[in-house]
């Protein structure tokens, strides 16, 4: 097992290094256009050791927690090593901290260009995995189940005492039927339980319930994920739900990202966990990223339970390193949404899959699927349910008939019609690769009408595109269409890629492809029509989904079989929107020639 994992990690390390070096050789405009750099930073404030900068609102791949260089843009690697604490494109604000490990003296730079920095944690991760690779050490540490779990031989059956406890606990909780099943399985599993949470099915709610139940019995729980955001969500749910968590300590290890919010909920931020932080027999929850979990293990282990969230995005080795700190695992995620980002990926190596996808295959038929979506109405839910969940996901009765609330009138009534939960606005254009002004204008006009005429709060609208460049074009058009764009009128509106909006929901979502060059679409179909990306983009809306795209999108003919399958999915989406009344009464295609 060691060899394929190390080979996979080494390949990632090499690809990352090579990519970054090539990237740093590009001129700054290209790096910005690519989304891997932000230019024009201006320092406006200092908060402790964190510096606050004003930034232009262009879309970017950079995320909180990313390691970066802040430089003049020319000699990148002689700049200042920093870490992103917060990034808010809407407000044009970025918060940076000096890198923990680098010794930089002097005041933070006044401004400059922010570039991605290679943070090579491969060795750290491999060291964290050694106890699992070594049978003897694994057994001593109580982590021998991890290897069995990954190989498909873990015990998923319930332990009777826990099962009885789970049944008793569940009565009190207002969970749906599928949530109850998943809860019981997760609480009672001997070694491993898998909970699949399609969009809006309340997986965080179930995760929190599982954690609370463990706490009630004095267990120590590690909540892990790849991102701080995911961990904070679960911890916050535990803290807010938990009458029962009262009296138990909840810790978060790592940078105090969203620190104030966590503190308000009674969650303690720590850089490390002291031995004896809690008494034996006393329940405790600790949140740490999969990387943080490796370090944490030196201070504290084993946990009774490791709950891994957003496991559809966690690579296999990272998941294993988190599991190694515990005696059993609950894996929550959805491999039908966005998968892990793998440097040097696309080689077909099974290691490139997420832990959830891997386990879903190993334990086929033994996953607990959450079936009721509280988010999507019937018209929005249908496509995703059919093509990604074998028709198993249904809208919860409270959501099924929900409609977008609009005022009377409006110029684009036919498109915004609340009775049409999903429409495809077919915009004719040609040879556009990664951005289309034509579509951007349609989006801007629709957003303007939603906000100005119908009073839909901007924070309830998201514009999603596969291309960062197209998101940029949309922002530009929005600024033109709504002169108050920089101000309050569209504050809170999200214009970004699907990656950015995974895990979130809005009343109205506009998904705009921005491409119409058939050859380009065909060449890039594997990325563009990635089913996980498509599923995420199509399932963020509660009541109204507007797809904006050229009909050419449905005519891509990529050469590779896998990409062809993906193109077929988009063609199916297009077909769904051709107005055949009996088949899909809530879906419609509207062809527009946009005149301003």
């Amino acid at each position: 097992m060691r060899e394929p994992i190390v080979r996979f990690l080494e390949r990632g390390r090499r690809a990352e290094r090579r990519d970054l070096r090539d990237l740093h050789l590009k001129p700054v405009e290209e790096r910005v256009a690519d989304g891997s750099a932000i230019a024009g930073l201006r320092r406006i404030e200092q908060r402790g050791d964190a510096a606050v900068y004003r930034i232009p609102g262009t879309a970017t791949k950079l995320r909180p927690g990313d390691a970066c260089w802040l430089s003049s843009g020319a000699e990148i690697t002689s700049g200042r090593p920093v870490e992103i604490e917060e990034i808010d494109l809407g407000a044009g604000v970025l918060v940076l901290r000096p890198d923990r490990f680098a010794d930089a003296s002097g005041p933070p730079p006044e401004g400059g260009v922010l570039d991605r920095r290679n943070l090579d944690l491969t060795d750290h991760l491999v060291r964290g995995l050694e106890p699992i690779f070594d049978d003897e050490r694994g057994r001593l540490a109580g982590a021998d189940w991890v290897r069995r779990a990954v190989e498909g031989e873990a015990e998923l059956g319930p332990r009777n005492d826990r099962l009885a406890r789970a049944k008793e606990a569940v009565e009190a909780d207002a969970l749906t039927e599928s949530q109850r099943e998943a809860f019981s399985a997760a609480v009672a599993a001997r070694e491993l339980a898998l909970v699949q949470g399609p969009p809006g099915t309340g997986k965080t709610r179930v995760a929190a319930a599982v954690v609370l139940e463990a706490l009630r019995h004095g267990e120590k729980v590690l909540v892990s994920a790849l991102t701080h955001r995911a961990i904070n969500n679960v911890l916050a749910a535990v803290a807010t739900l938990g009458e029962k968590s009262r009296g138990h300590r909840v810790f978060k290890i790592g940078r105090p990202h969203q620190g104030a919010e966590l503190r308000a909920l009674g969650i303690e931020s720590r850089t490390r966990l002291q031995k004896g932080a809690v008494l034996p027999g006393e329940g405790m929850v600790v949140g740490a990223t999969t990387f943080g979990a490796v370090k944490l293990r030196r201070d504290y282990s084993p946990f009774d339970l490791v709950l891994l969230d957003e496991a559809g995005q966690v690579p296999i080795p990272h998941a294993m390193s988190a599991f190694a700190g515990g005696l059993r695992g609950v894996v929550v995620g959805d491999h039908r949404q966005l998968g892990p980002v793998v440097a040097g990926g696309g080689t077909g190596d099974p290691m490139e899959r997420s832990i959830f996808e891997h386990l879903a295959e190993r334990y086929r038929g033994r996953i607990h699927l959450l079936r009721e979506s509280w988010r999507m109405n019937a018209g929005i839910c249908r496509f995703s349910s059919r093509f990604f969940y074998e028709d198993a996901v249904v809208p919860h009765k409270s959501a099924a008939d929900r409609r977008l609330q609009l005022d009377e009138g409006g110029q684009y009534r036919a498109i915004l019609d609340p009775e049409k939960a999903s429409v495809w606005v077919a915009v004719d254009h040609l040879a556009r690769r990664n951005h289309s002004r034509e579509e951007a204008r349609v989006v801007a006009a629709l957003v303007r009408e939603l906000v100005s005429h119908h009073g839909v709060p901007p924070a309830e609208i998201a514009v999603v595109s596969p291309f960062r460049a197209h998101a940029g074009a949309v922002s530009h058009e929005l600024a033109r269409a709504i002169p108050e764009a920089a101000g309050a009128l569209i504050e809170g509106l999200v214009v970004d890629t699907a990656e950015r909006i995974q895990g979130q929901e809005r009343e109205v979502v506009l998904y705009t492809f921005g491409s119409s060059d058939r050859d380009y679409l065909s060449r890039n179909a594997e990325f563009l029509f990635d089913p996980g990306r498509l599923n995420v983009a199509l399932t963020r809306a509660r009541t109204k989904r507007i797809i904006i795209g050229s009909p050419e999108v449905a005519r891509a003919r990529p050469r590779k079989l896998e990409a062809l399958r993906r193109a077929a999915l988009v063609q199916a989406l297009w077909s769904e929107h051709i107005p055949i009344e009996q088949a899909t009464p809530e879906c419609d295609t509207i062809r527009v020639r946009w005149e301003e």
């Binding site: 050789l25 405009e29 690769r433 380009y520 005519r555 399958r565």
Partner: protein, 519 residues
């Protein structure tokens, strides 16, 4: 009566839609025979099919019927299918306007008009991975089967070069296939017009001479590398229909197009420069290439078997040190078993090479190639054969793909920016006029797949291993020698271009650019 549509029409249409126009409305006398490389590959494909069938389909039946009598062929095929044989080889499936001859029809249980069983269509292919055009051929048969046996096969399959079976779901892919068939019918019946578009597909197309001549006569936009079909259509819509139109586009016209948001100035600018290069027949610098200065360098030609994801059978190496001293070596493996050792020797050779000046990107003498040492390729070789990790990382991380660099930084007066294309205008080594792509539009993709622009390395290698005839091996070594020289010459030219560009910094329409800094 219109001629029937065959699976081959579908296959070719997916590679270039213009093939359908020419197949149904062109003059067959203008179509030419496949060139040597393709011919050898076709022969190889036939041998692969024959040996796979001999091994796996011993009890299958073949319909017998008078040559090209499709009705009789269909009757004989249906007889066999009704009788429930385990499989039919080269069956005939026809309908009013379609004729299909699947390699394989395999019996499956489950009711149909034939009884308690039905048939599934498959084809034998000699590529490593399944391609859409191959899948669509099988869907073509699946649709015919649906008519003839009253049941749509639930899946189709392809037998790949390594003998594995690739299955795919039929129902979910049919909407795409039906659309393709509709488009082909339109071309055949209502004369829907398509345009020729020179691309890397042309190298393997029978119409390549016809299309090249016509493109040159009409100064077609596809003579310009980097102009895809979509861009060409868009330009034509705005009245830019020829290379000359684009080359002579005034700044004012360009600005108007940009304002009308037809094409951004950042796209139009470089395209116009590429068009000028084609129009004048001379290369033009687009941006300063990042090529390390001569003389030191290791030039490598590497070639592997496209049917296997594994090692390479050829590494030709020329090392030039700082004083200009040259060392040559060619490593060649007769059998796949020898490839492992060859890779290890190649890596040793890299380790033994002079360290050279350390630069930002290079830990030793820079390594140049033209795609044969692409990161994904060397990853695959290393994971198949293992080897000194440090040398491997050097090859992986520091290899400089000169063909890619050429494409990015120089506008060449040829329809593709391959190494072959470069030599054809440089008049230097390698312009022997014989290899794949020589005198043919856009041979590069084809070359890249089958062993580099200077030889049909792979088919020659296959011939050598099959026959032991030394002449094939000599051809390989001689071609590699030429390619090495072309690489060396290209590197020098790129370096000169970089120096020239430095003297006169490259400007874009957006303003002056420096390498890393802001404007």
């Amino acid at each position: 009566m219109n001629p029937p549509i065959t699976a081959t029409h579908v296959y070719r249409y997916l590679l270039c839609e213009h093939t359908a126009t020419l197949a149904f409305h062109g003059d067959p006398a203008r179509s030419v025979a496949p060139h040597e490389g393709l011919r050898l590959l076709l022969e190889l494909g036939n041998r692969h099919e024959a040996s796979w069938v001999a091994e796996h389909c011993a009890d299958w039946a073949t319909p017998s019927y008078p040559e090209r009598d499709w009705a009789a062929g269909l009757a004989a095929t249906l007889d066999l299918m009704r009788s429930g044989v385990s499989g039919v080889l080269q069956g005939v499936l026809i309908d009013v306007d379609r004729v299909g001859k699947p390699d394989l029809l395999r019996r499956e249980e489950g009711p149909s008009d034939l009884g308690d069983h039905h048939y599934i269509a498959g084809d034998v292919k000699s590529s490593a991975e399944p391609h859409t055009e191959q899948v669509m051929q099988v869907l073509f048969y699946a649709r015919l089967l649906e008519l003839l046996q009253g049941r749509l096969p639930s899946y189709g399959y392809l037998i790949m070069a390594d003998g594995r079976e690739e299955r795919f779901d039929v129902t979910s892919l049919l909407p795409i296939f039906d659309e393709v068939l509709r488009e082909i019918r339109q071309i055949r019946d209502s004369g829907r017009q398509t345009k020729l578009h020179l691309s890397h597909q042309c190298g393997a197309c029978g119409w390549r001479v016809f299309c090249r001549d016509l493109a040159q006569e009409k100064k077609d936009l596809s003579l310009i590398p980097g102009v895809g079909r979509g861009t060409a259509d868009l330009l034509r819509q705005t009245g830019i229909a020829t290379v000359r139109d684009l080359a002579t586009l005034s700044l004012e016209q360009g600005r108007k197009l940009a304002e009308a948001e037809v094409l951004g100035i950042e796209v139009l600018g470089p395209l116009r420069r590429r068009a000028r290069a084609v129009e004048r027949g001379e290369p033009t610098i687009l941006s300063a290439p990042e090529v390390p200065p001569p003389p030191e360098g290791i030039y490598v030609v590497a070639s592997s078997d496209p049917r296997r994801n594994g090692g390479a059978f050829l590494y030709a190496i020329l090392e030039i040190d700082r004083s200009g001293k040259e060392r040559r070596e060619t490593l060649y493996a007769k059998t796949p078993a020898e490839e492992r050792e060859l890779w290890h020797r190649f890596l040793e050779r890299i380790t033994a090479s002079k360290k050279g000046n350390r630069r930002e990107r290079f830990s030793g003498i820079p390594i140049f190639h033209s795609g044969g040492l692409a990161p994904a390729t060397v990853e695959a070789i290393q994971s198949a054969h293992g080897g000194d990790p440090i040398a491997f990382e050097r090859v992986h991380d520091e290899g400089v793909d000169l063909s890619r660099m050429l494409l990015r930084s120089i506008a060449v007066p040829t329809p593709s920016a391959s190494l072959r294309a470069y030599t054809s205008f440089s008049g230097g080594v390698g312009a022997d006029g014989e290899g794949i792509g020589a005198g043919q539009p856009g041979g590069s993709g084809f070359e890249a797949r089958y062993g580099g622009p200077f030889g049909h390395y792979y088919p020659w290698h296959e011939r050598f291993t099959a026959t032991g005839d030394e002449a094939w091996r000599r051809k390989i070594l001689a071609a590699a020698e030429l390619e090495i020289e072309a690489l060396r010459s290209l590197r020098l030219r790129l370096h000169e271009a970089a120096k020239r560009a430095e003297r006169k910094p490259a400007t874009t329409t957006r303003g002056r650019r420096t390498r890393n800094g802001t404007r």
